[in-house]
């Protein structure tokens, strides 16, 4: 699992969608404080971030988003997702088209 900064993660996500026209792309989001499993003491100072993972079955990448970073990241990620999905999803057939 490669932990990247938000911008490289977005580039990688975009590439995944481009490469996987015949496969599946997963994106998972979870709230975490990223503490290592071995530490038994709960750390009161630990800050919570949003962990975002993406994988296409072959390559796994991830990034963490802090409260200050999410607005810009959110917009960019949604643009990438919509751009990748828009062509393949079905459009509703409009009945009033032919006049």
């Amino acid at each position: 699992m490669v932990l990247l900064e938000p911008d490289p993660f977005l580039s990688e996500l975009h590439k995944m969608y481009e490469r996987n026209k015949s496969g599946t792309v997963w994106i998972t989001m979870k709230r975490t404080n990223m503490k290592p499993r071995k530490s038994k003491k709960p750390d009161p100072k630990a800050e919570y971030v949003c962990l975002i993972r993406a994988n296409d079955g072959k390559r796994h990448v991830s990034t963490t988003i802090s409260p200050t970073q999410y607005p810009k990241f959110s917009q960019s990620m949604v643009i990438i997702m919509k751009g990748a999905m828009a062509d393949t999803l079905k459009r509703k057939e409009k009945k009033k088209e032919n006049k």
Binding site: Y17, S22, G23, K30, S66, P67
Partner: protein, 117 residues
């Protein structure tokens, strides 16, 4: 497991997160070959899924993703209040001053006040 109505899925998903913020995760699966999109929210006890193949549902994807990202990053929706850490509280106050949040009544009334003034 599969929820037919998006609004119900949305409400239940937010409810799951608010009840168990650390255990809840949100997944998006997109199969290009079939043109199918599946949204999944689970807290390892309950699993909610919404599937679609309609382009019109991309707006719903955008809406739910842009809600879950701040929820997971901050602990709560920035304009509504704080249930996260102190650091999150300070950052949220700064965000409220700098960036009015979208889709919230309080922020829209403050926008109107600014325009009039």
């Amino acid at each position: 497991m599969y929820v037919e109505d998006f609004e119900a899925f949305y409400e239940q998903a937010i409810g799951l997160f608010k009840a168990r913020p650390i255990e809840t995760r949100y997944s998006i699966k997109f199969r290009n070959s079939e043109g199918k999109l599946v949204l999944k929210v689970t807290d390892d006890r309950t699993c909610l899924k919404y599937k679609t193949d309609q382009q019109a549902d991309l707006k719903k994807l955008e809406r739910i993703t842009s809600i879950f990202l701040p929820l997971m990053a901050c602990g709560d929706l920035p304009a509504e209040g704080v249930s996260g850490s102190e650091a999150g509280q300070q950052q949220q106050q700064q965000q409220q001053q700098q960036q009015p949040a979208s889709g919230v009544q309080a922020s829209s009334s403050s926008k109107k006040a600014r325009r009039r003034g």
